[in-house]
Amino acid sequence: MSYASTAGHDEHHDQPTGIMRWLTTTNHKDIGTMYLVFSLIMFMLGGFMIMLVRLELFQPGMQLMQPDFYNQLIGVHALIMIFAALMPAATGFANWMLPLQLGAPDMALPRLNNWGFWLLPPAAILLTMPFILAWFGIGDGAIATGWTFYAPLSVQGGIGVDFAIFAIHILGISSVMGSINIIVTIFNMRAPGMTLMNMPMFAWGWLITAFLLIATIPVLAGAVTMLLTDRHFGTHFFDAAGGGDPILFQHLFWFFGHPEVYILLLPVWGFMPQILQTFSRKPMYGYKAQVYAFWGIGILSVVVWAHHFFTAGMPVPALIYFMFSTMAISVPLAVLFFCWIATMWRGSMTFETPMLFAVGWIILFGIGGLTGLVLADVAADAQYHHTYFVVAHFHYTLFAGGIMGIMAGVYYWLPKMTGHMYNERLGKLHFWLTAISFNMTFIPQFFLGLAGMPRRIPDYALQFADFNAVSTVSALVLGLSQLLFIYNIVSCVRGGQKATDRVWEGAEGLEWTLPSPPPYHSFTVQPVIKS
C-alpha cells in the first residue's frame, strides 16, 4: 500500500488555554491524552488498594483491617481496574490513533467525545466517595459485594451499592458514547481508498469492541436499574423472599461480563500485531484470518456467559452447551496466536521495550487462555470455582493480556505522541521487573487455588501461608516497579532525544507519515490510499 499524505496546519484558532482548554476541547489528541492520564491515575489508585489487600494476606489471621473493609477494597479495585483503568486506556489509544491511522482530521463526533470523557471523573469519584463518607460516619463504606454485584448481597448492602450503581450507569453511558463515536469514525472517516479489509488491525479490534459494548452495556445498565428498584422501590426481581430470582442477576451480569473480557482485550489484539510486524520488519501474517477470528470471538463471546457460574446450578444440557461453546472460543483464539507467532517467524527481529512487552504478552496471555480452558470444564470447575486458581487465571488474562499489552502500546506510540524517545534502558528494566514480579505474584496463586484456598476471604488456613507471603512480596515489587513506568512517561513528555517521524525502522501506516508529535490538526486534507 502506498499513500500520499498531507499534514495539516498547526493553528489553534481561538483555542482557550489553561483548564478551559481541557474542559472544552474537542480535539481527538487532547481527549486521548486525558483518557490515558486518567487511566494511569486510576491504575495507580486501584493498584494501591490491592497492595493493602496483599499486605493483609501476607500472613494468616487479621492484621490490618476489618473483613468488611477488605471486601470493599477488592470490589472497588476490580471496578476501578476494569472500568476506569483498562477501558479508558484503550479508548485513549482509539482517540489518539484511530484518526491518524485512518487518515481522518478528527473523530466523527468530537463534542460527544468530550462529553464521553468528562463523565468518567464523576463516576470515579462516585465509586470511591463512600470510603471518605465512612470516615465522617456517613454510610458503611464502599460497595462490598465484589465487582459482580451478586444478589441478594447487593440488594441488602449499604449505600456503597447505590453509589456503585450510579457510577456504573455513568460509566456505561460514557462507554456507549465512545463506542458510537468509534464506529462512526471507522465507517465514515476513512481516507479515500482505504477499504474495511485494508484498514489497520487496531481499527478492526475496536470496531468489534464497540459493537460488543453497544450490545451488552445496556443489558448491564438494565440489570443494575432493576437492582436499584429492588433496593428502593419495592420490586423483587432478584429477591427470593419476594418471589424473585437471584440467579437471574448472575445471568444478566455475565451476559455483559463475559463479552467485557473481550471488550478489554480486542483493542490490544488490534495493535499488538502492528507492534509485532514493526519489530519483525515483515508484513503481518494472516490479516484476513485475524479479522475473521475477531468476528468469531466477538460472536461467541455473547453466547457463553453461564460458564462463570456453573456451580450455581443449571440443567445438565445447559452445562454441556456452555462448556463446549466456551471451549470453541479457543479455535479462533488459536488462529490469532498462530498469526502472531507467524508474524515474527523468520523476521529480522529486535527487542526494544514495546517488542519485549509484546513477546512477553503472547506467552503470559497464553497461560491465561490455557487456564481458562481448564476452568471451562464443568467437572474441573466444580473444584476450582471460587478459588485462587480463578484469581490467577483472570490476572494472567487481564493484567498480562490487557495491561501489559497497553504498556506495549504506550512505549510504541509515546515517541509519536510526545516527539521524544523514552529511556530505553529504564523501559527494559520496567519490563523485566514487571514480568518477573507478575509471575512471582500469580504462579503461587495457581497452587493456592489448586490446594483449595477460597477467594474473597481475608483470612486463610496455615497451610497456605508460604505461598501467600511470596505472592505479597512479589505484588509489592510489581506495584513499586510501575513507578519506573510513570517516571519514564513523565520524563519522555518533558524532553529527551528527538523522535523521528517514523520512529521505528519497520513501522508501517499513516500515523508514521506525520511529524512527531503530530500537528494539532492533522489530515485537514485527506490522504489518498493507493492499493
Binding site: A108, I180, I183, V184, G222, M226, F237, G244
Partner: protein, 38 residues
C-alpha cells in the same frame, strides 16, 4: 471539499443517532423482556 465535508458530517450524525437508538433499544428491550418474564 466543503460540500463533501458537510455531507460527511451529516452522515456521521445520522449514524450516531441510529447507534444511540440501538443502545436505548437494547436497554429498554432487556428490561421489558425481564419484567414480562417475571
Amino acid at each position: 471539499m466543503k460540500d463533501q465535508d458537510r455531507e460527511r458530517r451529516r452522515r456521521s450524525i445520522r449514524y450516531g443517532i441510529l447507534l444511540g437508538l440501538l443502545a436505548l433499544f437494547v436497554y429498554a428491550g432487556s428490561m421489558y423482556y425481564l419484567i414480562w418474564l417475571r
